[in-house]
């Protein structure tokens, strides 16, 4: 039912300033883990928002119409006022969720959180064994601590969801992690998307799962619920998303972003009221017309759009070009098209999307691409270029 929320929320007409129905608020950039793939990089020398500043922001968001509120970090529980902020948000009648590793959720914290009105808690889990999980978090004992937190929350009736980010170091345990989640009766989302860091460092790309593994992950964990999306050739609406329209993000230093994935600030709540930034920012205004922009390159004419889940923010951190194709989304579109073809017994060459013009996808080696080209379905271009 929650998944149907988009259909239930009113949409404003073109030209009207939209309502940021969902806000992602970073409570701190600090974290008690050092995950290899994390996109969030601390900004030295900047002072994080105080509790009073965060509460003031929440009140402004409530006033402008925000309903869904997600607290992120770093790890949001590292903020010493975390529980107090959650309490404020809950009692202000936001639908609150937060993402955490759970390390700081002891019995008292779990008890305090259970007393509030939480929609759910997303807990990061990176394996089914301590060896694999702790390798990714780079902190020994974190796996056991995370599972203890999950049990504490669940025992008290808090709805917990596992988030499993698949990398080339842990993807092989995804199936075991899903089985573990089933035993614990906790929903799990397996996501093979590794983004560049928000300081545009792309060293994380090397952690992406192999092409073959990526495809298996899509098939086994996202395939059952996946269907090609509707393509809007005339209006390009499928190339856009909720950024700057129904979604907004504010980081721990008060910078306002169109989305948590897009590290281009529109303003700072220390220097202007949130409403002023939301309504008057040139950046946000431009992004609201993103799908109509003449600067869009490649994607409008792409034949794989129905299979593409291009994220403008990820595209920007990956290529430094908001309007061009996203190599990682192009690669995933090819995989989806191949999976669809395989399920229907179709043998055909999958066309080359614009973001793979050089035949190389970050994180997938030319050797892997050449190997895959030996398959009966698609990717002949990779063999040609290898």
């Amino acid at each position: 039912m929650i998944d149907r929320v988009k259909a239930l929320l009113p949409n404003r007409r073109q030209g009207e300033i939209p309502i940021p129905r969902a806000a992602i608020v970073e409570l701190t950039r600090r974290c008690n883990l050092a995950c290899r793939h994390c996109y969030a990089t601390p900004e030295r020398g900047r002072r994080e928002l105080s509790r009073e500043e965060i509460v003031g922001l929440l009140d402004q968001l409530r006033d402008i119409g925000t309903l869904f509120l997600t607290f992120v970090g770093g790890d949001p529980t590292v903020n010493r006022d975390f529980v107090s902020i959650v309490r404020h948000a809950s009692r202000a009648r936001f639908a609150v969720q937060f993402f955490s590793n759970g390390l700081l959720i002891d019995d008292a914290t779990a008890e305090a959180l259970a007393a509030e009105n939480l929609l759910h808690v997303g807990i990061s889990i990176y394996g089914a064994t301590p060896e694999i999980h702790d390798d990714l978090t780079r902190r020994r004992g974190s796996f056991e601590k995370t599972l203890r937190a999950v049990r504490r929350l669940k025992e008290r009736g808090v709805h917990v969801v596992f988030k499993f980010i698949a990398t080339n170091r842990n993807a092989h345990e995804a199936w075991a992690a899903v089985e573990m989640a089933r035993r614990l009766e906790i929903p799990i989302r397996v996501d093979p998307t590794i983004t560049a860091r928000d300081d545009l460092n792309s060293d994380t790309i090397a952690l992406r799962p192999s092409r073959d593994m990526h495809k298996r992950l899509l098939r086994d964990f996202q395939g059952p619920e996946w269907t090609p999306q509707e393509v809007d050739r005339a209006g390009n609406r499928d190339l856009s998303c909720g950024m700057a329209k129904t979604l907004v993000s504010v980081n721990a230093y008060g910078d306002v972003f169109p989305c948590v994935t897009l590290p281009i600030p529109a303003g700072n709540i220390r220097y202007a009221p949130f409403r002023t930034i939301w309504e008057e920012s040139t950046l946000l205004r431009e992004l609201r017309g993103f799908h109509r922009s003449s600067r869009l390159q490649g994607c409008p004419s792409c034949g794989l759009r129905a299979y593409c889940s291009r994220c403008p923010g990820n595209t920007y951190t990956e290529t430094r070009n908001l309007y061009g194709p996203s190599p990682s989304a192009c690669g995933e579109a090819v995989l989806w098209k191949e999976l669809e073809n395989e399920s229907k017994g179709i043998v055909e060459e999958v066309p080359l999307p614009p973001g793979l013009a050089d035949g190389h996808l970050p994180g997938w080696t030319p050797a892997e691409l050449a190997h895959e080209a030996g398959c009966s379905v698609g990717l002949r271009w990779a063999a040609d270029g290898a």
């Binding site: 039912m1 929650i2 929320v5 239930l8 119409g65 309903l67 009648r93 009105n117």
Partner: protein
């Protein structure tokens, strides 16, 4: 429900009025509900906690309906909200 029964939004709801329409989330049941204009008016009115009698009087004063219809409609509305975990009875 008796006339003196006090109802208010359940503590397990989140809500917001967007473009004049209430959107109410039942966080335990994980359901989302969008109210029409009349339901939104009633939701706003009962938000601080109201007796059934007060809500009936509000409907009589606000809408062109007779007393019997107001009582019937308010009763059905509140029963629906209760069944969806959107309101709670204050003891």
């Amino acid at each position: 429900m008796k006339p003196d029964t006090v109802v208010r939004p359940s503590s397990r709801t989140a809500f917001q009025v967007l473009d004049g329409q209430a959107v109410v989330v039942a966080t335990k049941k994980r359901t989302v509900h969008r109210f029409d204009d009349v339901a939104t008016d009633l939701w706003r009115y009962l938000e601080p906690g109201r007796t059934v009698r007060e809500i009936e009087a509000f409907v009589l004063k606000t809408y062109d309906v007779d007393e019997e219809t107001a009582k019937k409609d308010v009763g059905e509305f509140l029963e629906t909200l209760l069944s969806l975990d959107l309101v709670q009875v204050v003891e």
